[in-house]
């Protein structure tokens, strides 16, 4: 029995086609997964169902729920449906809550707005719902504010808001993408439990095949505004009839061919690194408490080696990264490249030239007002004189990362996310450093682009004998690209070893927890391997 059926949904925004003939049914009490890369139209599909489309959108087709076509309803009727019949949660729990309202008020508001309860009664229901999503009354009273909660806890509040009126359909748009793996596992459990207990249907939108495989009954794969393939999850995952689905699967399981040429020469030595921050004072005369972000971290990285650093947000890996890049002082211990002077802010340019970095966000990594030639050439600042063949070297670097020399005269907005990440790598390579810090460098990319970038990184490592410090929260990626891995928790390295050994036989309980929490596609579904 289908709860909602979408028929031939098409959408244009200012004349640009966004969706074409999207049709699917979501069954009562089932989970429907919508998978696709960014820009494939998955979020627009959900916004079309909620009629929350941006300006300039023109839509055709039908979305029938209870024999009524949602698209034929006026705004007032739609307001009655939003929240009541259809609830929604978003990707970014940090901005989905109003920071000046308590969590109790925000959950209760839905009930009051829809006129099902008076305020006092609504607050009582809000309490129940918050208990249901795992925020118990003792630790999370209704008068908490969003800033007092972590990301995962905020996402729970968002879920409580969305399910407060027991909607028949819950739309979850990348609900766990911004969360750590262990938190993600908890939120997915919670959603699964809600669907089972409340008989609610769930439209789960995600780019992550593994998340869908563990949650959805039905899956649809979207590409460029069309559904290219849909069916029961296991069947679809096993057969992969459509060419695009196959490519998506191949890319998400992709492991670059690596022949690491690790030498014995020690490239980076971190010795007992320590760094703490003063927290706000709790009382007027008390001493300020300290947050020990990095607590005595020691490790070495050899020339040509690729070393992974995994850990969840707040574990201190960002602080450690900044210290290794010489952007921040340490309070104890030292960081050295080879046997040179210690790395620190204000170190000599010649020393700094051995280090480069690629950041996560391909959109924030470049000055929008510079041309690519100038962006890529920025590290030449580290040389006493800009090289005479600077332009040739920029062109070479662009060719090396798979771009064309005439791309140098373009501005950064003319490039896609994956191309920008290639430009970031070209910038990191231009000075021929010894160590490149890859700070979540592929986390923001779609799976197919990520596979290409990983291949590129593997190839460059071989040709240049680079050392990589690969920082990521994504265990699949770390497993694919690193020789050794370190697991960091609360400012300390809790486990370190050969990557395969650590993944196959994790020793520390935290490592085991991380590996267990990482969603994976069941191994037996992968058996029928497609070329």
């Amino acid at each position: 029995m289908s709860l909602i059926s979408v028929e031939n949904l098409s959408l244009d925004i200012y004349g640009t086609p966004i969706l074409r003939d999207v049709s699917f049914d979501i069954a009562q009490g089932k989970v429907f997964g919508l998978v696709g890369e960014s820009g494939s139209g998955k979020s627009m599909t959900s916004l079309a169902l909620m009629k929350l489309l941006p300006d300039g959108a023109r839509r055709s087709g039908r979305a029938v729920i209870d024999g009524r076509d949602l698209f034929a309803l006026d705004e007032a009727a739609m307001c009655a449906i939003r929240g009541n019949q259809i609830g929604m949660i978003f990707q970014e729990p940090m901005t989905a809550l109003n920071p000046v309202q308590t969590i109790g008020d925000q959950v209760a508001e839905t009930l009051v707005v829809h006129g099902v309860a008076k305020r006092a009664e609504a607050l009582a229901i809000a309490r129940e719902k918050l208990d249901r999503v795992g925020l118990d009354g003792a630790r999370f009273p209704l008068d908490r504010y969003p800033h007092e909660l972590s990301g995962g806890q905020r996402q729970r509040v968002c879920i409580a808001m969305a399910v407060a009126l027991r909607p028949r359909l819950l739309i979850a748009d990348e609900p766990t993408t911004a969360l750590d793996v262990t938190t993600q596992a908890q939120i997915l459990d919670l959603l699964r439990g809600l669907v089972e207990e409340e008989g609610m249907s769930l439209l789960m939108i995600t780019h992550d095949l593994a998340v869908v495989s563990g949650l959805a009954d039905h899956v649809a794969v979207m590409q460029e505004g069309r559904i290219v393939e849909q069916g029961p999850t296991e069947e679809l995952f096993r057969t992969r009839a459509h060419d695009y689905t196959q490519r998506l699967f191949a890319a998400s399981a992709h492991r670059p061919a690596r022949e690491p040429t690790v030498t014995d020469e020690i490239l980076l030595t971190v010795e007992d690194a320590r760094r703490s921050y003063a927290l706000p004072r709790r009382s007027l005369f008390g001493t300020a408490p300290k947050l020990e972000a990095v607590r005595g971290v020691s490790f070495t990285l050899r020339k040509g080696e690729s070393l992974g650093l995994v850990g969840e947000s707040g574990c201190g890996k960002s602080t450690l990264t900044r210290a290794i890049l010489g952007l921040e002082d340490l309070q104890g211990g030292s960081i050295r490249l080879f046997d040179r002077e210690p790395v620190k802010p204000g170190m000599a340019n010649a020393l700094r030239a051995g280090l480069q970095v690629v950041f996560q966000d391909p959109y924030g990594s470049f000055n929008p007002r510079w041309k690519v030639s100038r962006l890529v050439a920025e590290p030449f600042h580290l040389m006493p004189h800009p090289p005479a063949d600077a332009r040739d070297r920029v062109n070479d670097a662009l060719v090396e990362v798979g771009l064309r020399p005439d791309d140098a005269d373009k501005y950064i907005h003319e490039f896609s996310g994956g191309q920008r990440q290639r430009i970031a790598i070209a910038r990191a390579l231009i000075n021929r450093p010894d160590l490149i810090v890859l700070d979540e460098a592929v986390s923001a990319l779609d799976v197919r682009v990520r596979a290409q970038i990983l291949d590129l990184l593997a190839r460059l490592q071989e040709t240049h004998g680079l050392g990589y410090l690969f920082i990521s929260h994504d265990l699949h990626v770390v497993r694919a690209i690193t020789d050794r891995v370190m697991v960091m928790k609360a400012g300390e390295i809790v486990e370190t070893g050969e990557t395969e050994a650590v993944f196959a036989n994790p020793q520390h309980p935290y490592t085991r927890q991380l590996i267990a929490a990482t969603p994976t596609i069941p191994a037996q579904w992968q058996m029928q391997e497609h070329a």
């Binding site: 941006p54 700094r352 970095v357 990594s365």
Partner: protein, 273 residues
């Protein structure tokens, strides 16, 4: 940017009318501004004197044109002074965000903000004598913290971006980063703020001249024209209405232009239109 916003077009046209009037007045005015002619005094607007004449028989159109020159010159120099002082202070504060220098600069700003601007301007001109130059200095001082704040605010959000970190990894210091990366990316903020401060500068100049502390006679000034018209408002209302309209329309034009510029320069607002 296919279509310019209406506000920008309207604002730019209004502003252009006064800018052209000011420029033309350098070479030519319909009548000599300083030429008194008691015989034709207090004439209403007519064929010979389009905007009429004042109590000394001077041509009001000519005075408005030269007055536009005074107003624009004072406001441009004052805003320029505010930018030249304020922007580097703001960049410096942002580069040292959270540090002592930031604290000193921003608290200094608060201090300047805490004084009522016009009262202090009156004090300055009263102590150093009324003149256009002193009016410029007074208005410029109060423009400084405005630009320092706007600069710091815009720069702070940029300092957290990855391309700034990449520049630091490339060994660039705070000064170079401020000039190469930060300044070009907050230029739009400064242009918009500049137009708005410009209109405030014109108002401030008019106010100072009104109380006799701005440009001194015989240089015509809109504010003083208003002040002189005050006693004759019943006999010759055009004496007050015309300079009043000049002030209102210039300020309106500049504000509309500032709004329009913000619409096309700020990508965050561009889509919301």
């Amino acid at each position: 940017m296919k279509r310019l916003p209406m506000t920008l077009v309207a604002g730019a046209l209004l502003t252009a009318v006064f800018a052209v009037a000011a420029l033309v007045s350098l070479a030519w005015t319909p009548h000599a501004v300083e030429g008194m002619n008691i015989a034709t005094r207090l004439q209403p607007p007519g064929a010979d004197h389009w905007f009429g004449t004042d109590h000394f028989g001077r041509d009001i159109l000519s005075m408005i044109m030269v007055g536009a020159r005074t107003s624009i010159a004072v406001a441009v120099i004052a805003v320029g002074m505010g930018m030249v002082l304020g922007v580097p202070l703001g960049l410096l504060a942002a580069a040292n965000r959270g540090g002592l220098i930031d604290e000193v600069i921003m608290r200094g700003n608060d201090l300047v903000f805490a004084f009522p601007a016009l009262v202090i301007a009156i004090l300055i001109t009263a102590v150093f004598g009324p003149s256009a130059v002193n009016a410029i200095i007074a208005i410029g001082i109060f423009n400084t913290p405005v630009f320092a704040r706007v600069t710091r605010g815009g720069a702070l959000s940029l300092w957290t971006l990855d391309y700034i970190r990449a520049a630091r990894v490339a060994g660039k210091g705070a000064g170079r980063i401020s000039i190469e990366h930060i300044l070009p990316n907050i230029a739009n903020l400064l242009i918009v703020q500049g137009t708005i401060q410009f209109s405030l500068g014109i108002l401030a100049e008019a106010a100072l001249s009104y109380v006799g502390l701005g440009a001194q006679p015989p240089t015509p000034s809109w504010g003083r024209m208003l002040a002189e018209a005050q006693t004759m408002i019943a006999m010759a209302p055009h004496l007050a209405i015309i300079p009043g309209l000049a002030i209102v329309l210039t300020v309106l034009g500049l504000n509309l232009m500032g709004d329009g510029l913000r619409d096309i320069l700020d990508p965050k607002l561009r889509r919301a239109r």
